[in-house]
């Protein structure tokens, strides 16, 4: 095509003005939309609490529940015999109004609250439901991951509808933790399970809690409505919506724009800093019930030598990790328990950052340079924190190789028990047995979480069960912590912190250390 032709054609188009007009119309439409402001819709009249969750739910059946999003939704629906006080972690009454423990510590008799009814007309709550709930978890047919938690139960009797008597095989001073309102401690209705069925119950749960399950829109939201007949009084909001927003930045914008009221599962240091800096919302933080640990497999050379493990501990600059990578949103841990446990002690052997000492210990152990795989799941922040750790280890002559595996592959590798290291945290209730048994008992050897293959405290675990009274418990658990931290089957990289942000409209919110939240005390102020 020649130049003249093109110019001519261009001229015709100019004259016809069609395209200009089209563009003009588009621009005008854009300006109209922009100018009109098209405001964000205000929240509707009945008080609805909108909570961000980072991932969709999948199973709300207490016998099979898992993952913080499921547990958070279930927290609103179910009660336990007892529960953790949200602020102090002390064990307080829930469906039981009181309890008596026999002198030898094997018989627990609970007096149950009267007049409690199940959601959606499933009748009154009775001692039979308690018996059913716990026996269901224990039944191998149920396939509950929590059957081990209740394994000390010998029998459950129901002398009357408002009394349940649980006999243990042997004294277990931590038994109340096992029947606290969390996972296996949540009580379900025999009648509801019978009518709804085992499978369907997972997403059609019936509880006695402050909110009633309404519906679940996959990938979008879970809706709960207020239980007007709740035994402690009706909740202050009519409805709770748990909305799935994966990306934390998007969730932060949604919170600041008032599209959600509570930001649950706030974890990214940058987002935390941003929300704190913005001043538009309230950011709460609290020590979690878990530490994140680098597990060292003692069955693999040269990690079998305690000096090598201690050298690795000395070699890692944990403070730099917390200040640099986490921007101070985590705290340094002295041991594998955090200060939110009643049994916590910081009187344990410490191995502060000291590369020279690390080198000396390696020399003493007769280990020259060796290579070590750092195995981590491909999830934030675990896939990133192994990088500074690898460089710290390189500085003392350990050739650390980073192996980040996708979650499924990671679990498979860890379950085999052949990985030399892995990153593990035991998230859950402030029950010291939970991390101790999971991480350090022989019964938890892979496929359990004792990837360290550690067996240094078997006798102490038995002693802890027998210890009656707070002082005795504190003493024996203190010994356990000291022994484990001296043997270094795990290196506590940091004590986790839980962050939750909410708008200024939210009032009465109490942050717990369970990595869940309760909507019950919350009310919404007029904007």
């Amino acid at each position: 095509m020649d130049g003249i032709n093109r110019k001519e054609r261009a001229g015709r188009i100019e004259r016809s003005g069609v395209n200009r007009r089209q563009f003009g119309t588009l621009l005008a439409a854009g300006a109209l939309v922009a100018g009109s402001g098209w405001p964000l819709p205000a929240s509707a009249a009945p008080p609805v609490l909108r909570v961000r969750i980072g991932s969709d739910i999948g199973n709300l059946d207490p016998a099979r529940i898992f993952q913080i999003e499921n547990q958070t939704v279930a927290t609103q629906i179910f009660n336990g015999l007892v529960k953790y006080d949200e602020a102090t972690n002390a064990i307080v009454p829930d469906l039981a109004t009181g309890w008596e423990i026999s002198g030898d510590g094997t018989v627990y008799s609970f007096a149950l609250r009267g007049g409690v009814t199940w959601h959606k007309g499933f009748g009154p709550f009775t001692s039979d439901d308690v018996k059913f709930s716990f026996e269901r978890v224990l039944d191998p047919q149920t396939g509950s991951s929590y059957s081990g938690q209740l394994a000390s139960i010998k029998s459950i009797e129901t002398p009357s509808p408002d009394r349940v008597v649980i006999t243990l095989k042997e004294p277990n001073s931590g038994f109340l933790h096992k029947v606290s309102a969390f996972n296996q401690g949540w009580i379900v209705s025999r009648k509801a399970l019978g009518e709804i069925g085992d499978k369907a119950f997972a997403l059609n749960p019936i509880g006695t809690g402050p909110f009633v399950f309404q519906n679940w829109a996959p990938g979008r939201e879970v809706k709960l409505s207020a239980n007007k007949d709740y035994f402690a009084g009706a909740p202050k909001v009519e409805e709770v919506q748990f909305r799935v927003i994966k990306d934390e930045t998007a969730a932060a914008i949604a919170l600041e724009n008032g599209e959600v009221d509570i930001f649950f599962g706030l974890q990214q240091p940058e987002v935390i800093q941003r929300l704190k800096g913005g001043g538009l919302v309230t950011v709460l933080d609290r020590d979690a019930n878990h530490t994140i640990n680098l597990v060292l497999n003692t069955s693999i050379k040269p990690l079998g030598d305690v000096r090598v493990r201690q050298a690795i501990y000395h070699a890692i600059n944990r403070k730099a990790l917390i200040d640099g990578f986490f921007k101070g949103t985590k705290t340094e841990a002295s041991g594998f328990l955090t200060s939110s446990f009643q049994e916590f002690t910081d009187q344990v052997p410490l191995f502060p950052y000291d590369p020279a000492k690390a080198k000396a210990l390696l020399k003493e152990a007769g280990v020259g340079s060796f290579s070590l795989d750092l195995v981590a799941p491909g999830a934030n922040p675990y896939d990133k924190i192994v990088v500074p750790i690898a460089s710290d280890l390189a500085a003392v002559g350990i050739d650390a190789k980073i192996k980040v595996l996708e979650r499924g592959a990671y679990l498979q590798a860890r379950n085999k028990g052949t990985v030399p290291t892995c990153v593990t945290g035991v998230v859950g209730a402030p029950d010291p047995d939970s991390p101790i048994l999971s991480l350090f008992a022989k019964s938890s050897f892979p496929p359990g979480l004792n990837t360290a293959h550690y067996e240094g405290i078997e006798d102490m675990i038995a002693a802890a069960r027998q210890a009656q009274g707070d002082a005795a418990r504190k003493e024996v658990y203190g010994k356990i912590q000291a022994k484990v931290m001296g043997d270094v089957p795990v290196i506590p990289l940091y004590a986790d912190h839980l962050f939750i942000a909410h708008t200024k409209k939210v009032s009465g919110f109490v942050q717990n250390s369970l990595f869940t939240m309760s909507a019950y005390p919350v009310s919404l102020l007029e904007a």
Partner: protein
């Protein structure tokens, strides 16, 4: 009739191929659905019980055989996570994805085709250069980046549109309000493709003898471009739209994640990480059928645009 039958048999073969490939592909990923469902504290007995319940203890070829037999009867199994029929779950989120994909495609067509024609029309001019450069940027920038940038600008700074790409309740207007950003971002990134491809299709037609003859006969240029050339270029343009539909469904997965929008994309993503085999299979199947169906419809549409094609 023959044509329809041929289309249907093509559809069946494609679907069978896709189901088979997906079936083996998802089983090649390491990781155990039972472990995922029961979590870190699962006992070995609990895992074994669950695997047996899910039929995962059988050899893979037995699982495949059973799957195909059931699939023929319309049973695509149940999600291992929720226990609900997999196809039902996928179809539940189909409307969300379809609305996004079609809205995005509509935006793309409305922007892309006129721009493509315009640039072909003015080949070599500054406006052609400018639009082509912008289109190149549109193709080069990943759609999730465009999404995040638009959230920061239009949602955080200007507060015109919500950051969340889906509303909970509310009327049609509220839903549309939530849809503007995701559909706009998807549309703009797809429009860049359509512009470039429309431009080449138009250029090819504009260089043909019939156009020269028309011009020589003094047919007004506007008529030459918008009637004669466009009509001839419509078949390749339709083909482009068909191809970009598959592409926009793919991008919709990223858009869904950025804008926290429910849909098949985010559901498949979740299912893959949970090793929810049945859900992944059902999801990929529905997506594949959607793409094949749209392309088949376009095939039929060619006949309307160009009668020569319908007699073949």
């Amino acid at each position: 009739m023959d044509r329809l039958l041929r289309q249907l048999s093509q559809l069946a073969i494609t679907v069978f191929g896709i189901v088979t490939v997906t079936f083996f592909l998802v089983r090649m990923i390491p990781g155990d659905p039972a472990q995922y469902m029961l979590g870190d504290y699962a006992t070995e007995e609990a895992l074994a019980t669950l695997r047996a319940q899910l039929g995962l203890d059988q050899p893979v070829y037995v699982q495949y055989g059973l799957y195909v037999l059931r699939a023929v009867t319309g049973d695509f199994g149940s999600s291992v996570v929720t226990g609900r029929p997999a196809l039902e779950e996928i179809l539940f989120s189909l409307p969300d994805s379809a609305i996004l994909a079609f809205a995005g495609l509509a935006v793309a067509v409305v922007i892309g085709i006129p721009l493509g024609i315009l640039t072909a029309e003015r080949q070599g001019s500054w406006s052609d250069m400018l639009i082509m450069i912008v289109a190149l940027f549109g193709i080069s920038f990943p759609v999730f980046w465009l999404g995040l940038a638009s959230v920061l600008l239009f949602s955080q700074e200007l507060k015109w549109f919500p950051a969340l790409g889906a509303s909970s309740g509310g009327g049609v207007l509220t839903h549309l309000h939530h849809l503007v950003l995701p559909a706009g971002v998807l549309g703009i990134s797809v429009a860049a493709y359509i512009t470039r491809l429309t431009r080449s299709a138009m250029l090819e037609v504009l260089g043909q003898d019939c156009i020269r003859v028309a011009r020589a006969m003094g047919v007004p240029e506007r008529r030459v471009v918008w009637r004669l050339a466009l009509k001839n270029a419509l078949v390749p343009i339709l083909a482009i739209v068909g191809v970009t539909f598959a592409w926009s469904l793919g991008s919709a997965i990223l858009i869904e994640v950025v804008f926290s929008r429910p849909g098949i994309g985010s559901m498949i993503l979740k299912a893959v990480s949970a090793r929810d085999y049945q859900l992944v299979q059902a999801g990929v199947l529905v997506l594949a059928v959607a793409v094949v169906l749209v392309n088949s419809l376009l095939d039929l549409a060619y006949g309307l645009v160009d009668p020569r094609l319908s007699t073949r």
